[in-house]
Amino acid sequence: MADIAITPAKSQIREASSWDQLKHNRNWLGFWFMVPAMAFLILFLAYPLGLGIWLSFTDTKIGRVGQFIGYENYEWLWDDAIFWLSVFNTLLYTFVASAIKFGIGLYLALLLNENMPFKALLRAAVLIPFIVPTVLSALAFWWIFDSQFSIISWSLKHLGLINENINFLGDTTWARICVIFANIWRGVPFVAITLLAGLQTVSPSLYEAATLDGASRWQMFRHITYPLLTPIIAVVMTFSVLFTFTDFQLIWAMTRGGPVNATHLMATLSYQRAIIAGQLGEGAAIASAMIPFLLAAIMVSWFGLQRRKWQQGENND
């Protein structure tokens, strides 16, 4: 009797198939949750990047499928003075603009972190350059720096400081200064607001303790604010450098790389060669030539972003 009672129950329990096991595997499920994001990244990031690198090894033109030509595009660029000028311009533009953005951004962040009237309003106002579409602000700068109708020339003339309009975007040095100025104007809010967020994570009691320890305002900045801010500075400056290095809109709307290529960045030159002139292969080579520079910037941030020794250990404060 006992045997009869047990047998049917036994037959209901079957071995879990490998499919059943897979259905309950968290890693398998996790993989499927990641698939949509992965698909997006592959379709819109990895594929264009791969295609761009592939194109740089071909002689593709608009309307003509190209053939693999090896390093020929790069060899051409190696002897191209305009390409090297654009590399120089890009580096100049990136380093000067980033350094000034960091300086002004940090200063603004420290200022906005103080207690003052209309604090919220001022913080919001700082963001304005960041919200305005780049092309619109570029157009405004275009007018501000116009050779005939520039408000700066007009004001200086009325103050009696100059006699003739300054040829802002027509002179090579002035043009570089102007585009860098416009880029700084646009990029400062990002740096300032991010650093402000970082400043607000510093406990006020540290400043009180430092006050009692006898620190002056400068010593507080030097020994407390700055070291505690370094991780966020590494993040924000990496992004700032990447954004500046790959800038296109502002230059294209203001100068299109002129005068005499003085403001041509690698991105604008690549666009001009690939899309305007139709030399897709060569344009792709210029764009691909940016990759080593960007990788270098990322490496710098990679080491800058590593957790410092004091950030390790449990965080229960």
Binding site: S205, T211, L212, D213, G214, Q219, W310, Q312, D317
Partner: protein, 355 residues
């Protein structure tokens, strides 16, 4: 080391006055605890002493010098903060030596003084660690080390133990007291915990709503609280208060709620029929045949003693017995306050009526 004089100090934030004229004399080497409920102004007073808040009126002097307009760093004080305020990016040694470094002390001098302080606090093996790698108690000790290194005139503690767990708190309490006995530096210690105040202080200052309610040694405050607030604040479990009328015709006595007769050694003169508050500490009840009848509600044994919650004349009271009675809820017992240890307070002002 030096004395500290706080004279008629007031503090306002805008139109809102939080300290209404506080006067506290602190002697050289004394351990003074400012205690009171949240919002009584004790932390504000400490921060004014440190120079982190302005003094609206009155004077604070350290030693012979009025420090109202003296910069915090010139006051020669060291403070231990509630959250320790250790610099997270500096090692323990750097945290402790920071103030010396700012003052331009020589590297050798800094390291000798840091080492000496580390020895006192048993921090030597931790000197190269960062604050994040320390436990709460260790961080607390580093914060104290930072204060000791400077060898200041006055130590200020702002609720330094409230972030620690109960067991560690008791241990650190002893450690701080021992440290004070060793260094003999004038110390002002702020807490809301009356047990901390009782166990550590040479002098307790009870504050409430921006005024000093009473100042004195722990036992003075326990034995003769100046008013009902201090009586209720000091001691655990808190003192029982029963409202009623004084009787001074014939033998002195007190008529509690619902006519309960309570003993009194002496009543103030000409006070017959005067309404008053009768205060008795839980530990001053005994079981006696001539006691007032009470019905037990809850019995809470803690091992060393037993807390009994009972209804006396309709009011809930708590009594503490060290001896072990066999009580159970619903039992009727006769509770008798020790007449020599009874406190009487004015019903309206809360002032103490008996000597």
């Amino acid at each position: 080391m030096s004395s500290v004089q706080i004279r008629d100090v007031r503090k306002s934030f805008g139109n809102f006055e939080v300290l209404h004229g506080v006067t506290i004399p602190i002697e050289d080497g004394e351990f003074v605890v400012l205690v009171g409920p949240s919002g009584c102004g004790k932390s504000t007073l400490l921060r004014m002493l440190a120079g982190l808040e302005n003094i609206t009126s009155g004077t604070i002097s350290i030693g012979d010098r009025v420090v109202n307009n003296v910069q915090p760093k010139e006051r020669d004080i060291a403070m231990v903060f509630q959250n320790y305020a250790l610099y997270p990016h500096m090692t323990v040694a750097d945290n402790m030596g920071f103030s010396l470094k700012l003052r331009g002390a020589k590297q050798e001098e800094i390291s000798t003084r840091v080492k000496r302080a580390a020895e006192i606090l048993a921090l030597t093996p931790l000197l190269e660690r960062y604050p994040r790698q320390l436990s709460g108690g260790q961080r607390q000790r580093v914060a104290m080390g930072r204060a000791i290194v400077r060898d200041p005139q006055v130590f200020l503690f702002d609720e330094p133990l409230s972030n620690l767990d109960a067991k560690l708190r008791v241990a650190m309490r002893t450690e701080i007291k021992e440290l004070h006995q060793r260094l003999k530096t004038t110390t002002v210690y702020v807490t809301h915990d009356q047990i901390e105040a009782m166990t550590m202080a040479d002098k307790i200052v009870v504050m409430h709503d921006g005024i000093v309610e009473q100042m004195g040694t722990p036992l003075e405050l326990y034995d003769t609280p100046a008013n009902q607030f201090v009586a209720g604040f000091i001691g655990s479990p808190a003192m029982n208060f029963l409202k009623g009328k004084l009787k001074s015709n014939g033998s002195a006595g007190f008529e509690g709620p619902n006519g309960v007769k309570l003993p009194l050694k002496t009543a103030p003169a000409n006070s017959d029929g005067q309404p008053a508050v009768y205060g008795v500490r839980p530990e001053h009840f005994t079981i006696a045949d001539d006691g007032a009848e009470a019905e037990i509600i809850v019995v809470e044994p803690t091992g060393s003693e037993t807390q009994v919650f009972a209804k006396l004349g309709g009011e809930q009271v708590v009594a503490v017995f060290r001896e072990r009675h066999q009580f159970s809820p619903g039992d009727k017992i006769r509770l008798k306050p020790d007449p020599s240890l009874v406190h009487l307070f004015d019903e309206t002002t809360g002032k103490r009526l008996n000597g």
